[in-house]
């Protein structure tokens, strides 16, 4: 192919590639395509029902809640209740808010209390009667004694109840509820409690927004509505102070931080690469020829990833921007390799370089492609992004330099001072440092072998998010006023169906009461009977024909005036004649009109995973047995077990990937060279893990991914330096340049505030530097002084 044709073919191919990519990317709806939701980083359920739970709870329930606390500087101890009402009313007028409730107003609780009291014989009687029937079953008495036994026991329980402080408050209700159905429920729901705002002089407002807090509509417009409502309050009373929190504040801060980090890290990376290049390259401006390679590599990665995945997390692009550090390798290698003879064509030079280029690129792609089999969406997305980016980088580098006339970037030369005295000096230096280097190599080997055993791993989904300390402190303070406290624990009990979830709740409450008899529990689920007790109610009532008379007599024996309980006996007769019946699930709709504000968040009867919340006034203890299908919300927040599973999955995939890479190397290169190529990246990786282990560092899933990336990069350098090592020549400048650029750009990332990016950057930078040191020092350690460069 003549030069002109080669040039235009390459340009056309590059233009077509860029046009296709830009055409696709130009028509994307990025708001829908790119997610900032940390929950999108974890897979949908798939064998982990708790994930469905956390998605439902965090995605549809809790995340839309916003909490507001108002204080008045002019009256510090007195909650500004009227202002809170006005503020809630202002929010409620906005179509962005589904509801806004001032929490001093007990009307919500009163409505719920009235609804439960009105339906007590439908909702509460089945459980009460079920418990008593089971207890009677253990007494050994004949069935016909059940009514008398139950009457005597109920009267005794009522008398004992009157000793309790609560009896004074309940005395007006007792004639209608001598079985204590409602007081008993209050005991079981007590831990739900009320917010503590009043005691801190704050008036509280609970609100729920309509749009997703992770969408633009759930952030800017909502913040503007809050600001407007707050400004109206301040106009009226400048002493009022508002504190508020919500997931949307975290999401907005997270997005702003990621965007600013992307910009800053990319600029810093470019500066580092430019600085390294300025040291090693003669005509630094010629490095601009590498920019199209990097840009097209990212273009290819973005295009393929957005084509394959319907939704990608923004972290993929943050981490994916690291791709430039790898993509530049192929450009460096092609561009900086000199033509062997003046008449050598680009095609001939490329054919000469193709084997190491393909070997490094394809083996790395094979390795990253294996990540596509990970359970974790983020890892799958990174695997595809990097693989597509590397293939694009290689293809674009080959095409781009094909359209240049004799592409060659000359490097600077160091330590090449001619003369016999210089040669003697270098030899003497090598002789002096060799024992030290060998000792250092032995120490490094020991660290690589022993250190990894001392590694500690910690997996926490919160590592994926960006810490916003001020927002977290504000959130904790506001939530504490709403009753959140570290000395209580919130559990979620779930099931495949509503009856199953309610049964699990019953089992969990029994387990928890036995495990800590002094603890107080609160669960609105206790309002509803289990399906078994619901179905058994008519037959149990059928066994209690004489109960009305028996209970009247028992009340008299215990000092009561039976005639005072007329309302109860009337209701009892009615329920006996016409016991409650109907579909079990319909029970849960009966309270729906009375559940507003935070009360509406205490259970969910929606499929596919109904759940009940239980609040326990104890700090989190051991996780409940798996059979109870109950998890602490704190466990859900960390999902540590799940992430440990993902880490092991990633470790397995990485190990298989490395084996494939090494096998490919041995297939391409002779055994001795293959061994060297394999040992340098693997040794560097183990050395870095060993070092981190000995330093007591705690690592996570993303250090592991960083190690995989670092190994792939080192693998490139190992291959690119293989020929020169074989020929006992100095390390090629492109390898040095690539490694230093990669170490610099990844080193910059280790300063990131995003834990994931920090972990990746630090691990990759350390491995790359270790590999470069190994390649540079290898000839000295082996006692094979490199010959002068050709």
């Amino acid at each position: 192919m003549n030069l002109r044709r080669q040039t235009w073919t390459a340009r056309l191919a590059l233009a077509a590639f860029a046009a296709l990519c830009l055409g696709w990317l130009g028509r994307l709806d990025y708001a829908r395509k790119i997610s900032t939701d940390v929950l999108d980083l974890i897979p949908p359920e798939k064998g982990s029902p708790e994930l469905g739970l956390v998605r439902d709870l965090a995605g549809n329930v809790q995340s839309r809640v916003m909490l507001f606390s108002l204080t008045d500087a002019a009256a510090p101890g007195r909650p500004p209740v009227a202002a809170a009402h006005d503020f809630a009313a202002a929010l409620a007028r906005s179509p962005l808010f589904a509801e806004a409730v001032p929490l001093d107003d007990a009307s919500g609780q009163t409505r719920l209390g009235q609804a439960i009291f009105a339906q007590r014989l439908t909702l509460l009687l089945p459980s009460w009667l079920g418990e008593r029937a089971r207890l009677f079953g253990t007494s050994g008495l004949p069935r016909e004694k059940f009514s008398g036994w139950l009457a005597e026991r109920s009267a005794a329980d009522l008398e004992a109840y009157l000793n309790r402080p609560e009896a004074v408050a309940m005395q007006e209700f007792i004639p209608q509820d001598p079985l204590l159905l409602v007081p008993r429920l209050l005991d079981r729901a007590r831990a739900i409690g009320s917010p503590a705002g009043g005691s801190s002089g704050a008036a509280l407002v609970w609100a729920r927004i309509n749009p997703s807090p992770l969408s633009d509509a759930g952030q800017g417009p909502v913040f503007a509505a809050v600001a407007q409502a707050a400004a109206d309050l301040h106009t009226r009373d400048p002493g009022l102070a508002l504190r508020w929190t919500g997931v949307n504040r975290f999401a907005a801060a997270s997005r702003a931080r990621i965007e600013s980090e992307i910009k800053m890290l990319n600029v810093l990376s470019l500066l580092v690469v430019a600085a390294v290049a300025a040291i090693l390259v003669r005509r630094i401006w010629k490095l601009l020829h590498l920019a199209p390679v990097i840009l097209c590599s990212l273009l290819g990665a973005w295009t393929v990833s957005t084509l394959v995945f319907s939704r990608l997390h923004i972290l993929v692009f943050v981490i994916g921007s690291l791709l430039s550090g790898v993509a530049v390798d192929y450009g460096f290698y092609i561009y900086m390799q000199p033509f062997l003879q003046p008449e050598e064509t680009y095609g001939a030079k490329l054919r000469r370089l193709l084997k190491p280029l393909l070997a490094s690129c394809l083996t790395t792609v094979i390795g990253f492609s294996l990540l596509l089999w990970s359970d974790l969406p983020l890892i799958r997305q990174i695997g595809l992004f990097v693989s597509a980016g590397l293939l694009s980088a290689l293809g674009v580098a080959i095409l781009y330099f094909a359209q240049l006339r004799r592409p060659f970037l000359e490097s600077r030369t160091f330590g090449q001072r001619p003369g016999p005295s210089a040669g003697r000096g270098r030899r003497a230096l090598r002789t002096r440092v060799r024992p030290w280097l060998r000792a250092a190599a032995a120490a490094a080997a020991a660290i690589a072998l022993l250190g990894p055993w001392r590694l500690h791993w910690r997996d926490d989904i919160r590592e994926l998010d960006i810490p916003a300390r001020e927002l977290q402190a504000n959130d904790a303070a506001v939530r504490a006023q709403f009753g959140d406290a570290s000395d209580r624990t919130i559990y979620l009990t779930y099931g495949d169906t509503l009856p199953a979830a309610r049964r699990h709740l019953e089992d969990f409450l029994a387990y928890a009461a036995a495990a800590d008899p002094g603890a107080t529990f609160g669960s609105l689920g206790a309002v509803f009977p289990t399906e078994d007790d619901w179905r058994a109610l008519p037959s149990r009532l059928g066994q209690l024909d004489g109960f009305r008379d028996d209970f009247g007599a028992a009340l008299g024996r215990h000092g009561f005036a039976p005639e005072s309980f007329g309302p109860f006996f009337t209701a009892w007769s009615a329920v006996q004649q016409d016991p409650p019946a109907g579909p079990y699930d319909a029970l849960y709709g009966s309270l729906a009109p009375a559940l507003s504000g935070p009360l509406g968040q205490l259970y969910s009867s929606r499929p596919p995973l109904p759940w009940f919340m239980t609040i326990v006034d104890r700090p989190a203890g051991p996780a409940p047995p798996a059979a109870l299908q109950t998890v602490g919300v704190d466990q859900l927040q960390s999902l540590d077990n799940l992430f440990t599973r993902y880490r092991w999955s990633a470790l397995r995939l990485s190990a298989v990937g490395l084996v494939l890479i090494i096998a490919s190397v041995f297939a391409i290169y002779p055994a001795r060279r293959g061994l060297r190529i394999a040992l340098i990246p693997a040794g560097s990786c183990f050395f870095v893990f060993g070092l981190l282990g000995l330093c007591g560092q705690t690592l996570n899933l993303f250090n592991l991914l960083g190690a995989f990336l670092g190994v792939c990069l080192s693998h490139n350098y190992s291959i690119f330096s293989s020929d020169s090592a074989q020929a006992r020549q100095p390390i090629p400048v492109p390898v040095r340049l690539s490694a230093l650029c990669a170490a610099g750009s990844f080193g910059v990332l280790s300063f990131s505030h995003i834990p994931v990016v920090h972990a990746l950057g630090l691990t990759v930078a350390l491995i790359v530097l270790t590999a470069l040191a190994a390649i540079e020092l290898e000839p000295f350690v082996r006692g094979e002084a490199p010959n002068a460069p050709a």
């Binding site: 402080p165 009320s194 009561f560």
Partner: protein, 206 residues
Amino acid sequence: MTRRLFLGTLWWALPLAALAAPTGNPAHDPGWQDLFRRLAPTVTRQAPFTEERYFPFRRQPIVLAGVVRIVPGRGLSLDYSSPQSRIVIVDAQGVLVREGGGQRAAPADSRGQAATAALGAVMRFDPAELARDFELAGDRQGGAWTLTLTPRDPALAGSLRSIVVSGSQGHLGRIELNAGLRIEIILGSAIDGPVFPAADLARYFR
């Protein structure tokens, strides 16, 4: 229903008033002021008490007995011993019930807190504070005296009609709570200045 719960809250403080002491307008009358000063707890106090609860649906009252302790600055503790063991603590944080190895707080919504604040005033026997939260009416016959406290807050007054405290000289002997049901608390001889060991303070207070 919630309102009713506050009754319990306020009622627990009554024996405190008993320990603290009794009280034409007591808020401004120098004679009553002097009595208030004597009743206001400046040192620890302890006294036995008997409580009778007259429920409208019972033929006989429920009778409870125990010991009331007060520590200025910490609050009031009612240690019921009969017919069941239970400790009720009333302090600046609200009302806490200890029984069966566990403890539970009383509901803490705004009306509950208002009631608790009223309790604090009764506990301190501060005439200015009492006059702010209650209408005060007093009657003195020789050494005997009777003080009637009627809540000014309409919400509280809807649940608690009045508190009547009475006694002789500087001693509070009886408290009567009228709140739909009637509760009478008869106090025994009070001991001023008992020393409560640390274990007792931890058990009876928070």
